[in-house]
Amino acid sequence: MAGQKKTLLKVIILGDTEVGKTSLMQQFINGKFSQQYKATIGADFLPKDMIIDDKNITMQIWDTAGQERFQSLGVAFYRGSDCCVLVYDVTNLKSFENLTSWRDEFLIQANIKDPDNFPFIIIGNKIDLEEGKRLISTKKAQALSNSLGNLPYFETSAKESVNIDQAFEVVARCALKQEEIMEFNDDYTDAVNINVDDDNYNNCAC
Protein backbone atom coordinates (compact mmCIF):
# COMPACT_ATOMS: atom_id res chain seq x y z
CA MET A 1 0.00 0.00 0.00
CA ALA A 2 1.30 3.44 -0.88
CA GLY A 3 2.19 5.50 2.16
CA GLN A 4 2.68 2.40 4.27
CA LYS A 5 6.00 2.15 6.09
CA LYS A 6 6.87 5.64 4.91
CA THR A 7 7.08 8.20 7.62
CA LEU A 8 4.48 10.90 7.17
CA LEU A 9 5.46 14.41 8.19
CA LYS A 10 2.96 17.21 8.54
CA VAL A 11 4.42 20.58 7.61
CA ILE A 12 2.56 23.90 7.87
CA ILE A 13 3.62 26.96 5.87
CA LEU A 14 2.66 30.29 7.43
CA GLY A 15 3.29 33.93 6.61
CA ASP A 16 1.67 37.15 5.40
CA THR A 17 -0.21 37.28 2.13
CA GLU A 18 1.83 37.58 -1.07
CA VAL A 19 5.15 36.64 0.52
CA GLY A 20 5.32 33.71 -1.92
CA LYS A 21 4.23 30.63 0.10
CA THR A 22 2.27 29.14 -2.80
CA SER A 23 5.03 30.04 -5.25
CA LEU A 24 7.62 28.26 -3.10
CA MET A 25 5.43 25.14 -3.03
CA GLN A 26 4.84 25.25 -6.77
CA GLN A 27 8.55 25.58 -7.45
CA PHE A 28 9.47 22.86 -4.93
CA ILE A 29 6.88 20.33 -6.12
CA ASN A 30 6.20 21.15 -9.79
CA GLY A 31 9.25 23.20 -10.77
CA LYS A 32 7.00 26.02 -11.96
CA PHE A 33 6.65 29.72 -11.26
CA SER A 34 3.88 32.14 -12.11
CA GLN A 35 4.14 35.91 -12.02
CA GLN A 36 0.42 36.17 -11.45
CA TYR A 37 -0.89 36.30 -7.91
CA LYS A 38 -3.83 34.07 -6.96
CA ALA A 39 -4.79 34.22 -3.31
CA THR A 40 -4.87 30.90 -1.48
CA ILE A 41 -8.30 30.26 -0.02
CA GLY A 42 -8.47 28.12 3.09
CA ALA A 43 -5.46 25.92 2.49
CA ASP A 44 -3.88 23.77 -0.17
CA PHE A 45 -2.60 20.32 0.64
CA LEU A 46 0.39 18.96 -1.19
CA PRO A 47 2.14 15.62 -0.88
CA LYS A 48 5.86 15.32 -1.54
CA ASP A 49 7.94 12.15 -1.31
CA MET A 50 11.57 12.48 -0.28
CA ILE A 51 14.43 10.26 0.74
CA ILE A 52 16.44 11.48 3.70
CA ASP A 53 19.42 9.30 4.68
CA ASP A 54 17.85 6.19 3.09
CA LYS A 55 14.58 6.90 4.86
CA ASN A 56 11.42 7.16 2.81
CA ILE A 57 9.28 10.03 3.93
CA THR A 58 6.18 11.74 2.66
CA MET A 59 5.67 15.37 3.50
CA GLN A 60 2.08 16.48 3.81
CA ILE A 61 2.49 20.18 3.17
CA TRP A 62 -0.20 22.63 4.21
CA ASP A 63 0.03 25.83 2.20
CA THR A 64 -2.18 28.23 4.14
CA ALA A 65 -3.93 31.48 3.31
CA GLY A 66 -2.09 34.63 4.35
CA GLN A 67 -5.13 36.86 3.83
CA GLU A 68 -7.25 36.92 6.92
CA ARG A 69 -10.54 36.91 5.03
CA PHE A 70 -9.54 33.67 3.33
CA GLN A 71 -8.61 31.89 6.56
CA SER A 72 -12.00 30.25 6.44
CA LEU A 73 -10.84 26.91 7.76
CA GLY A 74 -9.88 28.39 11.08
CA VAL A 75 -6.58 27.45 12.59
CA ALA A 76 -7.46 24.25 14.46
CA PHE A 77 -5.83 22.16 11.77
CA TYR A 78 -2.38 23.27 13.00
CA ARG A 79 -2.68 20.50 15.58
CA GLY A 80 -0.36 17.56 15.19
CA SER A 81 2.21 19.30 12.98
CA ASP A 82 5.78 18.06 12.81
CA CYS A 83 7.30 21.30 11.55
CA CYS A 84 6.25 24.87 10.82
CA VAL A 85 7.78 27.04 8.09
CA LEU A 86 7.54 30.82 8.59
CA VAL A 87 7.88 32.80 5.35
CA TYR A 88 8.42 36.53 4.81
CA ASP A 89 9.23 38.69 1.79
CA VAL A 90 12.67 40.33 1.98
CA THR A 91 11.21 43.43 0.33
CA ASN A 92 8.28 43.72 2.73
CA LEU A 93 9.06 44.97 6.24
CA LYS A 94 5.63 44.26 7.66
CA SER A 95 5.83 40.61 6.62
CA PHE A 96 9.11 40.31 8.54
CA GLU A 97 7.73 42.02 11.63
CA ASN A 98 4.75 39.70 11.63
CA LEU A 99 6.86 36.51 11.82
CA THR A 100 6.80 36.46 15.61
CA SER A 101 3.03 36.70 15.79
CA TRP A 102 2.64 33.92 13.21
CA ARG A 103 4.88 31.81 15.41
CA ASP A 104 3.00 32.65 18.61
CA GLU A 105 -0.37 32.02 17.02
CA PHE A 106 0.88 28.66 15.77
CA LEU A 107 2.15 27.63 19.20
CA ILE A 108 -1.20 28.44 20.78
CA GLN A 109 -3.47 26.95 18.13
CA ALA A 110 -1.39 23.83 17.61
CA ASN A 111 -1.36 23.34 21.37
CA ILE A 112 2.40 22.79 21.44
CA LYS A 113 3.49 21.58 24.86
CA ASP A 114 7.22 22.16 24.50
CA PRO A 115 7.56 25.39 22.44
CA ASP A 116 11.32 25.66 22.89
CA ASN A 117 11.92 22.40 21.10
CA PHE A 118 9.34 22.65 18.34
CA PRO A 119 11.01 22.88 14.92
CA PHE A 120 10.38 26.17 13.11
CA ILE A 121 12.20 27.25 9.99
CA ILE A 122 12.39 30.81 8.66
CA ILE A 123 12.45 31.57 4.96
CA GLY A 124 13.12 35.02 3.48
CA ASN A 125 11.75 34.89 -0.08
CA LYS A 126 12.09 37.01 -3.25
CA ILE A 127 15.86 37.56 -3.04
CA ASP A 128 15.89 37.84 -6.87
CA LEU A 129 14.38 41.32 -6.66
CA GLU A 130 16.82 44.15 -7.22
CA GLU A 131 19.06 45.10 -4.32
CA GLY A 132 17.42 48.52 -3.90
CA LYS A 133 14.07 46.99 -3.07
CA ARG A 134 15.37 44.78 -0.30
CA LEU A 135 14.38 46.05 3.14
CA ILE A 136 15.55 43.26 5.46
CA SER A 137 19.22 42.39 5.51
CA THR A 138 20.54 38.89 6.05
CA LYS A 139 22.06 40.09 9.28
CA LYS A 140 18.76 41.35 10.62
CA ALA A 141 16.99 38.12 9.72
CA GLN A 142 19.76 36.03 11.25
CA ALA A 143 19.43 38.00 14.47
CA LEU A 144 15.70 37.27 14.65
CA SER A 145 16.23 33.57 13.91
CA ASN A 146 18.79 33.38 16.69
CA SER A 147 16.59 35.21 19.16
CA LEU A 148 13.71 32.80 18.48
CA GLY A 149 15.91 29.84 19.42
CA ASN A 150 18.58 29.40 16.73
CA LEU A 151 16.04 28.59 14.06
CA PRO A 152 17.42 27.51 10.67
CA TYR A 153 17.20 30.44 8.25
CA PHE A 154 17.14 30.35 4.44
CA GLU A 155 16.97 32.99 1.76
CA THR A 156 15.13 31.84 -1.34
CA SER A 157 13.72 32.86 -4.67
CA ALA A 158 10.64 31.00 -5.85
CA LYS A 159 11.01 32.79 -9.17
CA GLU A 160 14.55 31.65 -9.87
CA SER A 161 14.45 28.49 -7.83
CA VAL A 162 17.20 29.45 -5.44
CA ASN A 163 17.80 27.48 -2.24
CA ILE A 164 14.35 25.88 -2.13
CA ASP A 165 15.41 22.22 -2.13
CA GLN A 166 18.02 23.00 0.50
CA ALA A 167 15.44 24.70 2.72
CA PHE A 168 12.96 21.83 2.44
CA GLU A 169 15.60 19.24 3.09
CA VAL A 170 16.23 20.94 6.41
CA VAL A 171 12.46 21.11 6.99
CA ALA A 172 12.29 17.35 6.44
CA ARG A 173 15.26 16.68 8.71
CA CYS A 174 13.87 18.79 11.53
CA ALA A 175 10.45 17.18 11.25
CA LEU A 176 12.00 13.73 11.13
CA LYS A 177 14.06 14.43 14.23
CA GLN A 178 10.91 15.52 16.02
CA GLU A 179 9.30 12.25 14.91
CA GLU A 180 12.18 10.06 15.96
CA ILE A 181 12.43 11.20 19.55
CA MET A 182 9.01 9.72 20.24
CA GLU A 183 9.19 6.94 22.74
CA PHE A 184 6.49 4.49 23.45
CA ASN A 185 6.27 1.29 25.36
CA ASP A 186 6.38 -1.56 22.90
CA ASP A 187 4.77 -4.17 25.11
CA TYR A 188 1.27 -2.82 24.94
CA THR A 189 -0.18 -5.99 26.49
CA ASP A 190 1.44 -5.00 29.75
CA ALA A 191 -0.20 -1.58 29.68
CA VAL A 192 -3.36 -2.65 31.48
CA ASN A 193 -4.39 -6.15 32.24
CA ILE A 194 -8.01 -6.85 32.92
CA ASN A 195 -8.32 -7.88 36.49
CA VAL A 196 -11.33 -9.95 37.31
CA ASP A 197 -11.54 -8.48 40.80
CA ASP A 198 -11.08 -4.96 39.55
CA ASP A 199 -13.77 -2.28 39.92
CA ASN A 200 -14.13 -1.58 36.26
CA TYR A 201 -14.73 -5.24 35.71
CA ASN A 202 -16.91 -6.19 38.62
CA ASN A 203 -19.85 -4.01 39.53
CA CYS A 204 -20.41 -5.70 42.85
CA ALA A 205 -20.17 -3.18 45.68
CA CYS A 206 -18.53 -5.46 48.25
Binding site: K10, L73, I194
Partner: protein, 402 residues
Protein backbone atom coordinates in the same frame (compact mmCIF):
# COMPACT_ATOMS: atom_id res chain seq x y z
CA UNK B 1 -17.25 1.11 -4.58
CA UNK B 2 -17.15 2.46 -1.05
CA UNK B 3 -14.04 3.97 0.39
CA UNK B 4 -13.14 3.87 4.07
CA UNK B 5 -10.51 6.21 5.43
CA UNK B 6 -9.03 6.35 8.91
CA UNK B 7 -6.85 9.27 9.93
CA UNK B 8 -5.50 10.57 13.21
CA UNK B 9 -7.02 13.70 14.72
CA UNK B 10 -3.98 15.59 13.43
CA UNK B 11 -4.73 14.65 9.83
CA UNK B 12 -2.17 11.88 9.34
CA UNK B 13 -3.41 8.96 7.28
CA UNK B 14 -3.72 5.66 9.13
CA UNK B 15 -5.55 3.46 6.67
CA UNK B 16 -7.51 3.76 3.45
CA UNK B 17 -9.33 1.02 1.60
CA UNK B 18 -8.55 2.96 -1.57
CA UNK B 19 -5.22 4.69 -1.14
CA UNK B 20 -5.39 7.14 -4.03
CA UNK B 21 -4.56 10.68 -2.97
CA UNK B 22 -4.77 9.67 0.66
CA UNK B 23 -2.24 12.28 1.85
CA UNK B 24 -4.36 15.08 0.44
CA UNK B 25 -7.70 13.57 1.50
CA UNK B 26 -6.47 13.12 5.07
CA UNK B 27 -5.58 16.78 5.27
CA UNK B 28 -8.92 17.86 3.83
CA UNK B 29 -10.84 15.62 6.21
CA UNK B 30 -8.95 16.93 9.21
CA UNK B 31 -9.54 20.55 8.18
CA UNK B 32 -13.26 19.98 7.81
CA UNK B 33 -13.61 18.06 11.05
CA UNK B 34 -11.44 20.42 13.10
CA UNK B 35 -13.23 23.42 11.65
CA UNK B 36 -16.52 22.13 13.04
CA UNK B 37 -14.99 20.90 16.26
CA UNK B 38 -13.13 24.07 17.19
CA UNK B 39 -14.31 26.99 15.10
CA UNK B 40 -18.09 26.81 15.28
CA UNK B 41 -19.90 28.12 18.30
CA UNK B 42 -21.47 26.31 19.94
CA UNK B 43 -19.03 23.62 18.89
CA UNK B 44 -20.53 21.08 16.59
CA UNK B 45 -19.42 17.76 15.22
CA UNK B 46 -19.90 17.01 11.58
CA UNK B 47 -21.79 13.77 10.91
CA UNK B 48 -22.32 13.59 7.20
CA UNK B 49 -22.13 15.38 3.87
CA UNK B 50 -24.44 14.52 1.04
CA UNK B 51 -24.34 15.55 -2.59
CA UNK B 52 -26.01 14.23 -5.73
CA UNK B 53 -23.67 11.28 -6.11
CA UNK B 54 -22.25 10.36 -2.78
CA UNK B 55 -22.74 10.23 0.89
CA UNK B 56 -19.87 10.91 3.27
CA UNK B 57 -20.15 9.71 6.83
CA UNK B 58 -17.89 10.98 9.60
CA UNK B 59 -17.15 9.45 12.97
CA UNK B 60 -14.89 11.23 15.41
CA UNK B 61 -13.56 8.85 18.03
CA UNK B 62 -10.58 10.66 19.48
CA UNK B 63 -7.74 10.21 18.51
CA UNK B 64 -9.17 8.82 15.29
CA UNK B 65 -11.37 10.25 12.56
CA UNK B 66 -13.10 7.68 10.38
CA UNK B 67 -15.05 8.34 7.24
CA UNK B 68 -16.84 6.35 4.58
CA UNK B 69 -17.67 7.60 1.11
CA UNK B 70 -20.43 5.65 -0.59
CA UNK B 71 -22.67 6.03 -3.61
CA UNK B 72 -25.95 7.66 -2.65
CA UNK B 73 -28.17 4.63 -3.23
CA UNK B 74 -25.98 2.10 -1.50
CA UNK B 75 -27.27 0.06 1.45
CA UNK B 76 -24.82 1.36 3.95
CA UNK B 77 -24.24 -0.54 7.17
CA UNK B 78 -24.65 2.18 9.82
CA UNK B 79 -22.18 0.40 12.12
CA UNK B 80 -19.35 0.36 9.57
CA UNK B 81 -17.24 3.06 11.15
CA UNK B 82 -17.64 1.79 14.67
CA UNK B 83 -16.63 -1.70 13.48
CA UNK B 84 -13.41 -0.25 12.06
CA UNK B 85 -12.80 1.78 15.21
CA UNK B 86 -13.35 -1.28 17.39
CA UNK B 87 -10.82 -3.15 15.32
CA UNK B 88 -8.13 -0.53 16.04
CA UNK B 89 -8.95 -0.68 19.76
CA UNK B 90 -8.84 -4.47 19.70
CA UNK B 91 -5.21 -4.34 18.58
CA UNK B 92 -3.81 -2.10 21.28
CA UNK B 93 -6.54 -1.24 23.85
CA UNK B 94 -7.91 2.24 24.50
CA UNK B 95 -5.55 3.36 27.30
CA UNK B 96 -2.46 2.47 25.30
CA UNK B 97 -3.68 4.41 22.26
CA UNK B 98 -4.70 7.39 24.39
CA UNK B 99 -1.35 7.40 26.14
CA UNK B 100 0.55 7.63 22.85
CA UNK B 101 -1.61 10.38 21.36
CA UNK B 102 -1.76 12.42 24.57
CA UNK B 103 2.00 12.47 24.55
CA UNK B 104 2.41 12.85 20.77
CA UNK B 105 -0.61 14.29 18.91
CA UNK B 106 1.47 14.05 15.71
CA UNK B 107 2.05 10.31 16.15
CA UNK B 108 2.12 8.34 12.90
CA UNK B 109 -0.11 5.37 13.78
CA UNK B 110 0.86 3.39 10.68
CA UNK B 111 4.03 2.50 12.60
CA UNK B 112 1.98 0.25 14.84
CA UNK B 113 0.08 -1.53 12.06
CA UNK B 114 1.62 -4.75 10.80
CA UNK B 115 0.99 -6.14 7.33
CA UNK B 116 -1.40 -8.62 8.78
CA UNK B 117 -3.36 -5.81 10.48
CA UNK B 118 -3.66 -4.13 7.08
CA UNK B 119 -4.91 -7.40 5.59
CA UNK B 120 -7.56 -7.59 8.29
CA UNK B 121 -8.61 -3.98 7.71
CA UNK B 122 -8.83 -4.65 3.97
CA UNK B 123 -10.95 -7.68 4.61
CA UNK B 124 -13.30 -5.84 7.00
CA UNK B 125 -13.72 -3.01 4.46
CA UNK B 126 -14.28 -5.50 1.69
CA UNK B 127 -17.06 -7.15 3.70
CA UNK B 128 -18.61 -3.83 4.64
CA UNK B 129 -18.56 -2.40 1.14
CA UNK B 130 -20.17 -5.51 -0.36
CA UNK B 131 -22.39 -6.22 2.65
CA UNK B 132 -21.28 -9.82 2.39
CA UNK B 133 -20.49 -10.63 5.99
CA UNK B 134 -23.70 -11.85 7.65
CA UNK B 135 -22.32 -11.32 11.16
CA UNK B 136 -21.88 -7.61 10.38
CA UNK B 137 -25.15 -7.44 8.45
CA UNK B 138 -27.36 -9.10 11.01
CA UNK B 139 -25.34 -8.38 14.14
CA UNK B 140 -25.78 -11.99 15.19
CA UNK B 141 -23.91 -15.28 15.09
CA UNK B 142 -24.55 -18.21 12.82
CA UNK B 143 -25.29 -21.53 14.51
CA UNK B 144 -24.62 -25.11 13.52
CA UNK B 145 -27.92 -27.03 13.83
CA UNK B 146 -27.42 -29.94 16.22
CA UNK B 147 -29.89 -32.15 18.03
CA UNK B 148 -30.45 -30.30 21.29
CA UNK B 149 -29.84 -33.36 23.48
CA UNK B 150 -26.41 -33.80 21.97
CA UNK B 151 -25.75 -30.08 22.20
CA UNK B 152 -26.60 -30.18 25.92
CA UNK B 153 -24.13 -33.01 26.29
CA UNK B 154 -21.43 -30.90 24.63
CA UNK B 155 -22.34 -27.94 26.82
CA UNK B 156 -22.18 -29.89 30.06
CA UNK B 157 -18.85 -31.46 29.05
CA UNK B 158 -17.50 -27.97 28.31
CA UNK B 159 -18.79 -26.73 31.66
CA UNK B 160 -17.30 -29.58 33.62
CA UNK B 161 -13.84 -28.85 32.18
CA UNK B 162 -13.95 -25.15 32.93
CA UNK B 163 -11.70 -23.57 35.57
CA UNK B 164 -11.86 -20.19 37.28
CA UNK B 165 -9.28 -18.67 34.91
CA UNK B 166 -11.38 -19.47 31.87
CA UNK B 167 -13.65 -16.50 31.22
CA UNK B 168 -15.25 -17.35 27.88
CA UNK B 169 -15.12 -20.37 25.64
CA UNK B 170 -16.48 -21.07 22.17
CA UNK B 171 -16.68 -24.14 20.03
CA UNK B 172 -17.39 -23.31 16.40
CA UNK B 173 -16.77 -24.74 12.97
CA UNK B 174 -13.86 -23.19 11.09
CA UNK B 175 -16.34 -20.93 9.30
CA UNK B 176 -17.61 -19.73 12.67
CA UNK B 177 -20.88 -21.60 13.00
CA UNK B 178 -21.51 -21.75 16.71
CA UNK B 179 -21.67 -25.16 18.40
CA UNK B 180 -21.34 -24.26 22.06
CA UNK B 181 -20.61 -21.19 24.12
CA UNK B 182 -19.38 -21.01 27.68
CA UNK B 183 -19.68 -17.87 29.81
CA UNK B 184 -17.89 -18.37 33.04
CA UNK B 185 -18.84 -15.16 34.78
CA UNK B 186 -21.18 -14.70 37.63
CA UNK B 187 -21.52 -11.03 36.92
CA UNK B 188 -24.04 -10.77 34.12
CA UNK B 189 -23.14 -7.12 33.47
CA UNK B 190 -20.19 -8.31 31.49
CA UNK B 191 -20.96 -10.27 28.47
CA UNK B 192 -19.57 -11.42 25.18
CA UNK B 193 -20.76 -9.01 22.49
CA UNK B 194 -21.42 -9.94 18.91
CA UNK B 195 -19.35 -7.01 17.68
CA UNK B 196 -16.36 -8.19 19.72
CA UNK B 197 -16.67 -11.71 18.39
CA UNK B 198 -17.08 -10.47 14.83
CA UNK B 199 -13.71 -8.73 15.17
CA UNK B 200 -12.07 -11.80 16.65
CA UNK B 201 -13.44 -13.91 13.79
CA UNK B 202 -12.16 -11.41 11.23
CA UNK B 203 -8.71 -11.44 12.82
CA UNK B 204 -8.67 -15.22 12.65
CA UNK B 205 -9.97 -15.53 9.12
CA UNK B 206 -8.20 -12.70 7.35
CA UNK B 207 -4.73 -12.42 8.79
CA UNK B 208 -2.25 -15.02 7.57
CA UNK B 209 -1.07 -15.83 11.09
CA UNK B 210 -3.30 -18.86 11.51
CA UNK B 211 -2.93 -20.29 8.04
CA UNK B 212 -0.49 -22.20 5.91
CA UNK B 213 -1.18 -22.30 2.17
CA UNK B 214 -4.53 -20.66 2.98
CA UNK B 215 -5.53 -23.62 5.19
CA UNK B 216 -5.98 -23.21 8.93
CA UNK B 217 -3.10 -24.75 10.87
CA UNK B 218 -4.29 -27.61 13.11
CA UNK B 219 -1.03 -28.76 14.65
CA UNK B 220 -0.30 -25.57 16.52
CA UNK B 221 -2.02 -23.83 19.40
CA UNK B 222 -2.12 -20.03 19.23
CA UNK B 223 -2.08 -17.61 22.16
CA UNK B 224 -3.30 -14.20 21.13
CA UNK B 225 -3.75 -11.09 23.26
CA UNK B 226 -6.82 -9.22 22.08
CA UNK B 227 -8.79 -6.34 23.48
CA UNK B 228 -12.54 -6.79 23.16
CA UNK B 229 -13.72 -3.16 23.07
CA UNK B 230 -17.36 -3.74 24.01
CA UNK B 231 -16.47 -6.13 26.79
CA UNK B 232 -13.72 -3.96 28.23
CA UNK B 233 -11.71 -1.52 26.15
CA UNK B 234 -9.14 -1.08 28.93
CA UNK B 235 -7.12 -4.23 28.53
CA UNK B 236 -6.50 -7.51 26.87
CA UNK B 237 -7.89 -10.97 27.13
CA UNK B 238 -5.54 -13.81 26.32
CA UNK B 239 -7.06 -16.10 23.78
CA UNK B 240 -6.23 -19.68 23.00
CA UNK B 241 -7.02 -20.57 19.42
CA UNK B 242 -6.95 -24.19 18.32
CA UNK B 243 -8.14 -25.68 15.05
CA UNK B 244 -9.04 -29.37 14.94
CA UNK B 245 -9.13 -31.47 11.78
CA UNK B 246 -12.29 -33.56 11.43
CA UNK B 247 -11.69 -34.96 7.97
CA UNK B 248 -9.52 -37.81 9.15
CA UNK B 249 -10.29 -41.36 8.03
CA UNK B 250 -9.36 -42.69 11.49
CA UNK B 251 -12.38 -40.98 13.05
CA UNK B 252 -14.60 -42.33 10.32
CA UNK B 253 -13.31 -45.83 10.98
CA UNK B 254 -13.53 -45.45 14.72
CA UNK B 255 -17.13 -44.30 14.58
CA UNK B 256 -17.96 -46.30 11.44
CA UNK B 257 -19.50 -43.31 9.70
CA UNK B 258 -19.09 -42.37 6.09
CA UNK B 259 -17.04 -39.54 4.71
CA UNK B 260 -18.92 -36.33 4.31
CA UNK B 261 -17.46 -32.93 3.74
CA UNK B 262 -19.92 -30.86 5.68
CA UNK B 263 -17.73 -29.81 8.58
CA UNK B 264 -14.04 -30.10 7.94
CA UNK B 265 -12.54 -28.34 10.94
CA UNK B 266 -13.46 -27.31 14.45
CA UNK B 267 -12.29 -24.18 16.18
CA UNK B 268 -11.82 -23.97 19.94
CA UNK B 269 -11.52 -20.46 21.42
CA UNK B 270 -10.75 -20.10 25.12
CA UNK B 271 -10.25 -16.71 26.78
CA UNK B 272 -8.61 -15.76 30.02
CA UNK B 273 -7.77 -12.42 31.65
CA UNK B 274 -4.42 -13.86 32.67
CA UNK B 275 -1.38 -13.97 30.45
CA UNK B 276 0.11 -16.99 32.18
CA UNK B 277 -2.89 -19.29 31.99
CA UNK B 278 -1.94 -20.78 28.64
CA UNK B 279 -1.05 -24.21 30.02
CA UNK B 280 -4.23 -24.39 32.03
CA UNK B 281 -6.36 -23.50 29.00
CA UNK B 282 -4.37 -25.80 26.76
CA UNK B 283 -5.27 -28.67 29.08
CA UNK B 284 -8.96 -27.76 28.92
CA UNK B 285 -8.74 -27.59 25.15
CA UNK B 286 -7.06 -31.02 24.90
CA UNK B 287 -9.66 -32.67 27.09
CA UNK B 288 -12.48 -30.94 25.28
CA UNK B 289 -11.17 -32.07 21.90
CA UNK B 290 -10.91 -35.66 23.14
CA UNK B 291 -14.49 -35.68 24.30
CA UNK B 292 -15.70 -34.20 21.00
CA UNK B 293 -13.73 -36.54 18.78
CA UNK B 294 -14.11 -39.82 20.62
CA UNK B 295 -17.81 -39.77 21.37
CA UNK B 296 -19.61 -41.14 18.35
CA UNK B 297 -22.85 -39.20 18.79
CA UNK B 298 -21.10 -35.93 19.41
CA UNK B 299 -18.61 -36.39 16.59
CA UNK B 300 -21.33 -37.33 14.15
CA UNK B 301 -23.58 -34.43 15.16
CA UNK B 302 -20.79 -31.98 14.34
CA UNK B 303 -19.39 -33.79 11.33
CA UNK B 304 -22.82 -34.28 9.79
CA UNK B 305 -24.91 -31.48 11.22
CA UNK B 306 -28.71 -31.52 11.03
CA UNK B 307 -29.97 -30.35 7.71
CA UNK B 308 -32.54 -27.60 7.74
CA UNK B 309 -35.68 -28.69 5.92
CA UNK B 310 -37.62 -25.49 5.59
CA UNK B 311 -41.08 -25.84 4.05
CA UNK B 312 -40.34 -23.52 1.13
CA UNK B 313 -41.08 -23.60 -2.60
CA UNK B 314 -38.26 -23.68 -5.13
CA UNK B 315 -38.89 -20.06 -6.04
CA UNK B 316 -36.95 -19.13 -2.90
CA UNK B 317 -33.36 -18.61 -3.99
CA UNK B 318 -31.93 -18.18 -0.52
CA UNK B 319 -32.94 -17.36 3.02
CA UNK B 320 -31.61 -16.05 6.32
CA UNK B 321 -33.53 -16.44 9.55
CA UNK B 322 -32.52 -14.49 12.60
CA UNK B 323 -33.67 -15.22 16.10
CA UNK B 324 -33.76 -11.68 17.45
CA UNK B 325 -33.86 -12.59 21.13
CA UNK B 326 -30.81 -14.87 20.92
CA UNK B 327 -29.01 -12.84 18.22
CA UNK B 328 -28.37 -15.99 16.22
CA UNK B 329 -29.14 -16.85 12.63
CA UNK B 330 -29.24 -19.72 10.17
CA UNK B 331 -29.07 -19.40 6.43
CA UNK B 332 -29.42 -21.43 3.27
CA UNK B 333 -26.25 -23.16 2.04
CA UNK B 334 -26.25 -21.10 -1.15
CA UNK B 335 -26.46 -17.73 0.50
CA UNK B 336 -24.62 -14.85 -1.04
CA UNK B 337 -25.80 -12.66 1.83
CA UNK B 338 -27.16 -9.83 -0.23
CA UNK B 339 -27.48 -6.41 1.32
CA UNK B 340 -29.40 -6.38 4.58
CA UNK B 341 -32.71 -4.61 4.35
CA UNK B 342 -33.21 -1.90 6.88
CA UNK B 343 -36.56 -2.27 8.64
CA UNK B 344 -36.56 1.23 10.12
CA UNK B 345 -40.11 1.40 11.47
CA UNK B 346 -41.79 -1.11 9.20
CA UNK B 347 -42.21 -4.83 9.71
CA UNK B 348 -42.29 -5.87 6.05
CA UNK B 349 -40.03 -4.77 3.20
CA UNK B 350 -39.99 -5.75 -0.44
CA UNK B 351 -37.37 -4.54 -2.88
CA UNK B 352 -37.43 -5.36 -6.57
CA UNK B 353 -34.32 -5.96 -8.62
CA UNK B 354 -33.97 -6.90 -12.28
CA UNK B 355 -34.26 -10.67 -11.82
CA UNK B 356 -35.07 -11.20 -8.16
CA UNK B 357 -36.86 -9.69 -5.20
CA UNK B 358 -35.72 -9.21 -1.66
CA UNK B 359 -38.30 -9.72 1.02
CA UNK B 360 -37.95 -9.32 4.77
CA UNK B 361 -40.43 -9.50 7.59
CA UNK B 362 -40.52 -9.50 11.35
CA UNK B 363 -42.62 -12.24 12.88
CA UNK B 364 -42.65 -12.83 16.61
CA UNK B 365 -38.98 -12.84 17.67
CA UNK B 366 -37.71 -13.79 14.23
CA UNK B 367 -36.61 -11.83 11.22
CA UNK B 368 -37.00 -13.69 7.95
CA UNK B 369 -35.04 -12.57 4.90
CA UNK B 370 -35.80 -14.14 1.53
CA UNK B 371 -34.32 -13.75 -1.91
CA UNK B 372 -36.96 -14.87 -4.42
CA UNK B 373 -37.61 -15.21 -8.12
CA UNK B 374 -39.23 -12.10 -9.50
CA UNK B 375 -42.15 -14.16 -10.73
CA UNK B 376 -43.26 -15.15 -7.22
CA UNK B 377 -46.51 -13.33 -6.41
CA UNK B 378 -46.21 -11.06 -3.42
CA UNK B 379 -49.36 -12.51 -1.92
CA UNK B 380 -47.49 -15.78 -1.30
CA UNK B 381 -44.68 -14.24 0.69
CA UNK B 382 -46.42 -13.82 4.00
CA UNK B 383 -47.90 -17.36 4.04
CA UNK B 384 -44.44 -18.76 3.20
CA UNK B 385 -42.93 -16.72 6.01
CA UNK B 386 -45.52 -17.97 8.45
CA UNK B 387 -44.78 -21.58 7.65
CA UNK B 388 -41.05 -20.82 8.07
CA UNK B 389 -41.88 -19.28 11.42
CA UNK B 390 -43.75 -22.42 12.49
CA UNK B 391 -40.83 -24.58 11.45
CA UNK B 392 -38.44 -22.40 13.45
CA UNK B 393 -40.60 -22.40 16.51
CA UNK B 394 -40.93 -26.16 16.58
CA UNK B 395 -37.20 -26.67 15.85
CA UNK B 396 -35.92 -23.73 17.82
CA UNK B 397 -34.01 -25.85 20.34
CA UNK B 398 -32.10 -27.66 17.57
CA UNK B 399 -31.46 -24.63 15.40
CA UNK B 400 -30.41 -22.14 18.04
CA UNK B 401 -28.36 -22.19 21.20
CA UNK B 402 -30.45 -21.34 24.23
Amino acid sequence: MINYIIISSSGKPIYAFDNNNIIVYSAIIQSIVSYFTYSTSPNQLINSIKNNNSFINFAHYNPFILISISPINHHHNPSSLSILYNYLISLLSKPYIDKIFNKYPNFDFTKLLSNSDILTLNSICHDLSLNNNPIFNYNSLQTLPINYKIRSKINSKFNSLSTSNLLFGLITTSNFKLISILKNIQNSNHNLHISDLSILFKIISSSNNFKLNSQYITNETFWLPICLPKFNSNGHLYTLIQFVELNDSRYQQLHSISANNNTDKLLIILMSPFKDSFNELKKISNNLIKSLLFNKKIFNSIYNPLSINLPIPSSIISYTIKNTSLLQFIESPSNSSSSPLNFKNSTIIIENYSNYKLFACKLSNYEIYLKINSSTPESQLLPISKSILNYCISNNHHLFIQ
